[in-house]
Symmetry: C2
């Protein structure tokens, strides 16, 4: 994890700065002229999923879900996607597409193109485009302000709890396992949060504590968490540090008269001390030892 | 090759039809509302390149060049790209980005985002976006008409000749090898062809005979080739059937008064017999045995 973030950071320094009004690499997705949003995420067999735990159809679903989650975290509506598949035989390909096309239909985010290639490992890379409503500003990671409330889109922990249940092979068809197989990014909450005046947002893919830390560092604010909602069957540890959530964390000032209600669940406050990371008054360990691998 | 095309064909049948005015999968790239064009192409170590013959920097260059070529073949200007890298250590990554960023700068097609993941094989997947000028129609594969002239953007054969020279290890710094290492898609010719009234276009990636066959099948026309320009150091076989060309083939009616000159080199004519595939009066073997692998 640390190595991946450090390597990404060094890469980001090499990229050309974005044009005025655009957002380059380093957020959940890039934002281009005209409010076009672009996200890309690879799904690698043996790294992001094992066939013994995840069907290829579910892997195809998740490949698009990861990108839809990134697009939504910018405040954009999913638009369409392209899919590049390496190392799949035709049977594998049909199964991957079963889930990919189900997800594309579910989010009205059609597969408009793609490519196939031979290869020594199965890699499905989906690139999704989104669109911001005309005139709407994207939800960045870097624009939370001290005093803003901190929110999540739903109770957390099913990503970690679902994977644990699958590995143990005990539970069957628990909600956590079902969520792990076919997660549902918080697209509606993201749109509502943008309308309600959210100041910053991030997709929870590496775990709440880790991703909120990214948001806090980018925004120069501290984090004071009061409570975190735990999904049924998950632990507080799952909710605080587990990855593969597909939910949204965002900051939003208190509701003012005439504004839309803030969606989601309030978990704390952005503070002025950029070093603060607390949960119920105690230090919050960022990451908590979660490893984003199988 | 045949297997790949057949598998792609069966996949295409499963995709939702494109919205009115848009172009879905099956052409060089997809065309979305607002003239946004999207292409994706993976580059896999051991399939598309070998480190013994191609530096990682050159592989990075080619990963974007393949996509720029696809975008240009739709008549669109390159806009920006995202890059997903699987299975590269940080040294590999830096070298890949040396070439990728050089290409991004060369075509003013900046890298605006991407992702990194572990994996058992090195896979670099670039997704490029392009833009059509306001009101311009894309150049499809399927709209060539009988009587149109057939053109290529440049003399052909360096893709195959460069690879052969590299494998033999004899020639050094020949133009064909230099082209193989850092090919230059025919972006300017593509824009000029669109302005000159080109009716259809395709990126020559699988070899002229194979890609013209795709265009002819999609358009329902025949192909009568009179002559094909051969790049210095290449053979006629390379020019007719070799892949990795990064050049453009297109159809265009004869120039009318007041129209821009047709760019490129005329090689033949689209005919009314959809079964015709001839070169200098003899049957043209489609594909010619070219294998799109190392």
């Amino acid at each position: 994890m640390t190595g991946e973030f450090a390597a990404l950071g060094r890469l980001l320094e090499r990229l050309a700065p974005p044009a005025a009004g655009e957002v380059g690499a380093g957020d959940d997705a890039a934002v281009l002229a005209g409010g076009v949003v672009v996200a890309v995420d690879p799904v690698v067999e043996g790294v992001h999923f094992l066939r013994s735990l995840t069907s290829l159809a579910d892997a195809g679903w998740k490949a698009l879900a990861r990108n839809v989650s990134d697009v939504a975290a910018m405040g954009a509506e999913p638009w369409c996607c392209v899919a590049s598949v390496v190392g799949a035989d035709e049977g594998d390909l049909a199964h991957l597409y079963d889930g990919l096309l189900a997800a594309a239909s579910h989010w009205a985010c059609p597969v408009v193109g793609g490519d196939l290639a031979a290869g020594p490992a199965l890699v499905l890379t989906v690139t999704a485009l989104g669109r911001l409503p005309t005139g709407a500003a994207p939800l960045l990671r870097s624009t939370a302000r001290p005093g803003d409330g901190l929110y999540v889109s739903a109770p957390l922990g099913w990503g970690a709890a679902g994977l644990r249940a699958l590995r143990a092979g005990t539970a069957s068809a628990s909600p956590a396992e079902a969520w792990y197989a076919r997660p549902e990014p918080s697209v509606e909450v993201a749109m509502e949060a943008r309308s309600a005046g959210a100041t910053a947002a991030i997709d929870i893919s590496d775990g709440l504590s880790q991703d909120l830390d990214h948001l806090a560092v980018a925004s120069g604010v501290g984090l004071r968490l009061d409570d975190v909602p735990v999904a049924a069957g998950a632990t507080l540890e799952d909710a605080l540090h587990g990855g593969d959530e597909y939910h949204l964390a965002f900051s939003c000032p208190d509701r003012r008269a005439g504004q839309a209600a803030v969606p989601g669940i309030r978990i704390g406050t952005c503070t002025t001390d950029p070093g603060e990371r607390t949960f119920r008054g105690a230090a919050l360990p960022v990451g908590g030892g979660w490893e984003h691998s199988l």
